[in-house]
């Protein structure tokens, strides 16, 4: 139960940040693929750097263990990514 409360709480932050970064807007998503607006990349890469550093530090300090790391299937990940990109570029979500 408490896990659900955490999920709800983190979800609110997640949604708030996506909205405030402008990633709920069609033109922000589409324009990153048109190479005219790099908000999506700035947002994604900053999030990656912060969370990567934090998680690996916490793991090194022995505070957390990693959850299941998404499995790597080279063909699946690449083909899935290719199909996903088409959808993302035409919906703008």
């Amino acid at each position: 139960m408490s896990d659900y409360i955490i999920a709800l709480f983190l979800g609110v932050f997640f949604g708030l940040l996506l909205q405030k970064a402008g990633l709920t807007k069609y033109h922000k998503i589409v324009n990153v693929f048109r190479l005219t607006d790099f908000t999506v990349l700035k947002f994604m890469m900053t999030a990656l750097i912060v969370s990567m550093t934090g998680l690996y530090s916490l793991k090194w300090l022995g505070i957390i263990t990693f959850p299941n790391v998404p499995a790597t299937y080279i063909a699946g990940n690449v083909i899935g990514g290719l199909i996903f990109g088409v959808g993302m570029a035409i919906t703008g979500y």
């Binding site: 999920a7 994604m44 990656l48 957390i64 990940n77 083909i79 199909i83 035409i90 979500y93």
Partner: protein
């Protein structure tokens, strides 16, 4: 304090600030409940739940039994939070509004017909969710959450997503605006 409130009410934050805060949310998700942020999985959990109620035989397969078990999962609750979080964001900057077409740029490219926007979004979303299903996640669940654990899958996915996204955008929009 007042400065913070003014900042909070701004419609658009610096993507670096928002991104850094999302990074912290990602860390908290692992720290507090040993879960990863993700969006596309929640759809499959719900779809599976409905599917098993309506057509149990069609949904009795490896994918729904083992890969993506149906149910009200952590990710589903997270998405409920995202809905309200997004609303809070728009409300706080007083830009919250119901629209049939949400974006001016879309109107420039495709015109004013709202059903066209909905139809293209519907078809595109099917493609998008299908891709996410094959890859094992979406922008948040695989690219960001996988990337922060340095999973190779995430970087393969990001490469694929941008390669086809750029090509698609070029084919569909070209120099149209």
């Amino acid at each position: 304090m007042k400065v913070l409130i003014t900042q909070f009410r701004k419609e658009e934050w610096s993507p670096y600030i928002a991104g850094a805060l999302l990074g912290l949310v990602g860390i908290l998700a692992v720290f507090l409940s040993d879960n990863l942020l993700g969006a596309s999985g929640a759809f499959e959990n719900i779809a599976g739940l409905i599917g098993q109620a309506v057509a149990p035989e069609a949904f009795d397969n490896v994918y729904f039994n083992y890969v993506m078990p149906p149910g009200i999962t952590w990710g589903v609750v997270l998405m409920v939070g995202v809905f309200f979080g997004g609303m809070l964001g728009a409300k706080s900057s007083r830009t919250w509004k119901l629209r049939m077409i949400s974006d001016e740029q879309w109107k420039v490219v495709f015109g004013n017909k709202w059903w066209k926007r909905w139809l293209i979004a519907f078809v595109g979303a099917i493609i998008l969710e299908y891709g996410a299903g094959i890859a094992g996640g979406c922008t948040s669940g695989l690219a960001i959450s996988g990337g922060m654990l340095l999973a190779p899958a995430a970087f393969l996915f990001i490469a694929g997503m941008f390669a086809s996204g750029i090509i698609t955008a070029w084919l569909v929009y070209g120099r149209r605006f």
